[in-house]
């Protein structure tokens, strides 16, 4: 059995898409925070 249950419907598609989007944004923000901390946070100025 594979995944035929999923795409019969669109509400679950939207919910899972939103989950991916939120996780992607969260991941990007973490990377940005990391970058700022290591590059700008330690700037001599």
């Amino acid at each position: 059995m594979a995944q035929p249950l999923y795409t019969v419907n669109s509400l679950s598609l939207v919910i899972h898409l939103l989950v991916l989007l939120v996780l992607k944004i969260s991941d990007t923000l973490k990377k940005l925070e990391h970058y700022i901390h290591h590059h700008i946070g330690h700037s001599p100025s």
């Binding site: 059995m1 594979a2 995944q3 035929p4 249950l5 999923y6 795409t7 019969v8 419907n9 669109s10 509400l11 679950s12 598609l13 919910i15 899972h16 898409l17 989950v19 991916l20 996780l23």
Partner: protein, 355 residues
Amino acid sequence: MANRLRNPIAVIIPAHNEAAIIHTTIKQLLHYLPRHQIYVVDDGSSDGTASIAQKLVPHVISHAKNMGKGAAINTAIKRWRLLQKYPYIMPLDADTTISPNFFPAILAFFDQDIHQNFACANGRVVAYQKNWITAYRMWEYEIGQTIHKAAQSILGGIVVSPGCATVYRSSVFRQFKFPTHSLAEDMDLTFTIHRRHLGKIGFISQAEVITQDPSTLIDFIHQVDRWYTGLWQNICKHNLPWEGQMLDFEIALLATEALFSGFLYLCLIVLLPLSFSIDIRLFIIPLAIDICFFILPTLIYTSIRRRVKRMIIYLGHFYLLRTLSSLIFIKCFFKVMFDQQPAFGWFSPRRYQLI
């Protein structure tokens, strides 16, 4: 071949009347694995499946009578003591073709899992394209895995590890046997892994396998009927969705929505003859929204990703199959809820040679 694996994975091919395809499957698999790592269990075939396999690999055994896929896998594990010899076990359907990247990607994933948090790793299933019915399945797989499964993987709620694309740690089978007496053994095993907290389930998107899906409407109906019956059997067996795991949430969401859609389609079919007497916009507006915001974008995505240009012209066909699937979903719900006769056995759609 230089890229053949040395030892880590045993591939078990359970087969029932697969003479048309088993030769191609094994020959292709031999590009990536030495022959002694491939184990074939002929489950009471009457078409010479075993003799074809014996010409290609040394480990072939036959059941005198048909006992089912789960029983065939358990026979291989016991007969050749695979749990003592290999850290990883992969059951492989006789109709499945492995992509060159499959084993390297899966093994790299397990190598990174130093603390052995993962019980198994799923690859991505791709449907072989033949006609409008296989195109529908290709679209379902593509969207189901790119969006649903990717999200489930992060949340820890993968609902099915496909029987044709999953590599398990041997430790999983030390604790219990591969499920038998189920129409969806792989889903049964996935639910068991969640329920017994045996480990996480990984999804490795770049590890692809290609499967042969039904190319006729009758085979399509039989396969969907089997899958959905298996789903409802497993929902009852594992007490879903009442135990508070992410799996329960996923199944509750997917099954409730699918039931709702099924009843909606049923109502629409019943009301269709009345559509001339009521406002036609009641039908047209939801349909237009569905096409513009769901069907078309996902079809275009799949069409580009899998390079199947004709997919767009199958739009109408897809609505037919989608409606059919929804109605079968309801039928299976009532069948399992009101008829407790356990059903299991093999289903193989008509096979075709890959080009």
